[in-house]
């Protein structure tokens, strides 16, 4: 018989290292044509970080993200970055890039103000141009200002900055302190179908509501969440490194170590909840790791809801589910026979 159940799980997750310094530094150069080049020591790992970081630089400078050139991942050519770890890139590297872009923008404003006959605090950037606030008839292109600044004034437009999240070390006895500057939150709800004959669990649907502060690029946030859930489904149901008694790994290939494939994936509905963290770039926090954190718990709670057996260990393989069902049945029989 196939039985359906639902399970909910929520979580919290920190952004950045546990107390330890994890700085990011960045250089932002505004080129003579009004484009910008960002130097960052982070490494793109396939999650889209360079796209998000370009969007942050573009937003601060008031240019198009496609006009931002990203140079990354070279200890000779790029500034220090702690790397794509601890869900920190958007938040920490993003803050560094935003601050560096601000520095560059300051130069742009100092050069543009006399050109437009106003003070620097009367200027704003938007759509590749510098505008006089409340009098947009007066404006000038960023490229023109950058060119003039570099070629005529001898003042190349660039900024550099670094950022490190503020923390408070934990007390060695009580563990009291501020290990992280910010956290994100999420809830996932799973619907499963359990085959009581075979123990097979199918995850039919997952609703994932995540807080990441401002989503700099909602499409990439959704991509992270979907990818994380696939990892969570594997953690919940099939992935396991099994060792023999002498320590030999028995599951050392993808034919016996089973990661979810397309057919194992549930329908996923992603909700990015509205939130803004004033300590992050444009209110952003992060999303990379939290995406898989509640998945296994939601699935196992759904199994419990479906068939009334609580599994105390992962993964919930068909063998384990079936064994738990048989034990429950045996218990019920004993209970009814003692009546």
């Amino acid at each position: 018989m196939k039985k359906r159940g639902r399970g909910i799980a929520c979580m919290w997750y920190p952004i950045g290292f546990t107390v330890s310094a994890n700085p990011s530094a960045a250089v932002v150069k505004v080129n003579e044509d009004g484009t910008a080049t960002v130097l960052t020591g982070t490494v793109e790992i396939g999650q889209g970080s360079l796209t998000v970081l370009a969007q942050i630089a573009a937003e601060e400078l008031g240019i198009s993200p496609r006009d931002v050139i990203m140079v990354s991942a070279d200890t000779d050519g790029t500034p220090v970055d702690t790397g794509a770890i601890a869900s920190r890139t958007t938040y920490v590297t993003g803050n560094a890039i935003r601050l560096a872009a601000k520095e560059a923008k300051k130069i742009l404003f100092e050069v543009a103000a006399p050109m437009l006959g106003v003070r620097t605090d009367q200027l704003e950037t938007r759509q590749g141009r510098i505008w006089v606030i409340d009098f947009p008839q007066k404006n000038i292109s960023i490229g023109e200002v950058a060119y003039y600044s570099q070629v005529k004034l001898g003042r190349p437009v660039q900024g550099s900055a670094s950022w490190n999240p503020p923390t408070v070390p934990l007390d060695p006895q009580t563990g009291q302190g501020k290990p992280f500057n910010t956290y994100v939150y999420a809830t996932q709800i799973a619907e499963v179908e359990v085959d009581t004959e075979t123990g097979q669990v199918d995850v039919l649907r997952i609703v994932a509501a995540h807080d990441c502060g401002t989503p700099i690029n909602p499409m990439l946030v959704e991509g992270q969440i979907q990818g994380g859930i696939s990892m969570g489904v594997g953690f919940a149901l099939s992935e396991e490194m099994v060792f023999s008694s002498n320590g030999t790994l028995l599951t050392s290939s993808l034919s016996n170590y089973l990661i979810p494939t397309t057919v194992d994936m549930p329908e996923i509905e992603v909700i990015i909840v509205d939130n803004y963290d004033p300590t992050g770039p444009f209110g952003a926090k992060g999303v990379g790791e939290p995406t898989l954190v509640p998945t296994a718990a939601a699935i196992l709670n759904a199994i419990y809801d479906a068939v009334g057996v609580r599994l105390y260990s992962l993964p919930a393989t068909p063998e384990k589910v079936l064994k738990a069902l048989r034990e429950k049945e045996a218990q019920n029989n004993t209970a009814s026979s003692t009546h």
């Binding site: 399970g7 929520c10 979580m11 919290w12 997750y13 490494v43 793109e44 790992i45 396939g46 360079l50 796209t51 942050i56 573009a58 937003e59 008031g62 240019i63 198009s64 993200p65 496609r66 070279d74 200890t75 220090v80 970055d81 790397g83 770890i85 009580t174 302190g177 290990p179 910010t182 939150y185 809830t187 996932q188 709800i189 509501a209 502060g213 401002t214 700099i216 690029n217 909602p218 994380g228 953690f235 490194m241 060792f243 320590g247 030999t248 790994l249 050392s252 909700i271 909840v273 509205d274 300590t279 952003a284 790791e289 939290p290 898989l292 998945t295 718990a297 609580r310 105390y312 992962l314």
Partner: protein
């Protein structure tokens, strides 16, 4: 409503190597404002066209290929290593052992990991010797000619067993328990005694691997000026540079670490693995040396996720308020520390869950076993403790006859809540996520 857009069109120019990608004139898609836009990843077009170069796509003239001999035993003393027969294999250019490594230790927290094992192997992923040859196949064949004499030692795979006083010591003379975290708030014993209901459970999780599509791959090359460049699949190039400089005993400024885009990381590529071996082989041969992990090496010779044993005791009121929580975490820390300290730390800090609980006692321990290294992996211990605290929440709800959503909403962190470590929390959107997910799912509250 903004839609996903493809803003670049590829133009193939006949006769030219590869393709030229030019921007399509799409002023309306210029992207102002930038933040909040669903812009496609900038690398997508290159991936689709097969133009994106990963490390394993790179090669240099005269490049050699390295392979590492892994241990036959999970725990053994090494009595003798002889690479002379491997050197006789045609096509083999160099072979090295632990004796060729200037400082044979590394690790992000504890420097307890050898580049190549010298006196002892602690798990089957330990490398003992490495060869560089003109092809990967020849290097692989030459490994079989290396003679290693072992004295097998008792193997400890279970972390509870490894914690016992009489357990074989994996890093003798040190205890197998190699890191602890403790968090205390309020008076947990008093609150448990006063609770309406006390629920006690034990949960376990398994060892898993990151399974990035791209396996670890690196190339090391020295220039005539004595500078080393390493192209590698490492996500933390700054740390890789200082680790390499320390192992090779050269100034940091003599090492350049370059990465391209990685084909997945998930925490598995946050530290060096084969890079020092390649650097030493490259120096010895005067040629660039590449090393790429097999899928099996990914499993046994790179980091994995810590299996956890998690004991939870919670005291609740009749209304479902959690007033006390005691947690004891035991993490299977594998053969070397790697990122265990951080993983255990995050796990312990997060282990009480995102709930406003006044009385808390959280203890975390990580233990050496003769298994592959456990280190950074997406979530750093959080998926393990979340499985436990969220299963535990459902058990409590069930025992009280409450709905799982209701018990969470009743105890959830809010703006200004104080965390287990005493931190005032800001931008807390937990209840928002609970309510948003429940609404979309169509969650109907069921109480008994």
């Amino acid at each position: 409503m903004e839609r996903d857009v493809i803003r670049k069109v590829p133009l193939v120019k006949p006769g030219e190597p590869g393709m030229i990608v030019e921007e399509a004139p799409t002023e309306e898609l210029a992207g102002y404002p930038s933040v909040g836009r669903r812009i496609p990843r900038r690398d997508t077009i290159f991936q689709v066209l097969g133009q994106l170069k990963y490390i394993n796509d790179l090669s240099f003239p005269g490049m050699l290929y390295a392979k590492v001999l892994r241990s036959r035993y999970a725990h053994a003393r090494i009595l003798r290593v002889d690479v002379s027969k491997a050197l006789e294999v045609p096509g083999v250019v160099a072979a090295i052992t632990a004796d060729d490594i200037p400082v044979n230790s590394f690790g992000p927290s504890l420097q307890d990991q050898p580049v190549l094992a010298k006196d002892k192997v602690r798990h089957m992923g330990d490398g003992i010797a490495a060869v560089a040859a003109v092809s990967e196949q020849i290097a692989e064949e030459a490994l079989e000619k290396i003679v290693v004499e072992y004295e097998p030692l008792p193997v400890v795979l279970d972390p509870l067993e490894a914690m016992r006083e009489d357990a074989p010591r994996i890093h003798e003379p040190r205890s197998n328990i190699y890191w602890e975290w403790h968090i205390r708030k309020g008076d947990v014993e008093k609150a448990l005694a006063e609770a309406h209901l006390v629920v006690q459970e034990r949960y376990r999780t398994q060892m898993v691997e990151h399974v990035s599509m791209e396996t670890h791959s690196s190339i090391a090359m020295w220039d005539a000026g004595g500078r080393l460049t390493v192209w590698c699949t490492v996500g933390r190039i700054t740390l890789a540079r200082t680790d390499l400089a320390r192992i090779l005993q050269v100034p940091v400024s003599r090492v350049r670490v370059v990465s391209t885009q990685l084909g997945g990381n998930f925490g598995g590529k946050n530290e060096i693995t084969i890079e020092p071996v390649l650097a030493i082989l490259a120096k010895k041969t005067g040629r660039p040396v590449k090393g790429t992990y097999s899928r099996k090496e990914e499993f046994i010779a790179s980091t994995t996720r810590h299996p956890f044993i998690m004991e939870y005791t919670s005291g609740v009121t009749a209304e479902g308020r959690i007033i006390a929580r005691k947690v004891r975490l035991i993490a299977d820390g594998g053969a070397y520390c790697s990122w265990s300290e951080t993983t255990l730390g995050k796990a312990t800090i997060l282990s009480a869950g995102p709930y406003d609980i006044p009385n808390i006692a959280l203890d975390g321990y990580v233990v050496y076993t003769n298994k592959p290294m456990t280190g950074a992996m997406r979530g750093f211990g959080a998926p393990q403790v979340c499985f436990a605290y969220e299963s535990h929440m459902d058990t409590i709800a069930h025992r009280l006859g409450m709905d799982p959503l209701q018990i969470r909403l009743l105890n959830a962190y809010d703006e200004g809540s104080i965390s287990a470590t005493g931190q005032i929390l800001h931008s807390v959107a937990l209840k928002k996520t609970l309510l948003a997910a429940a609404e979309r799912f169509g969650w109907e509250v069921k109480e008994r």
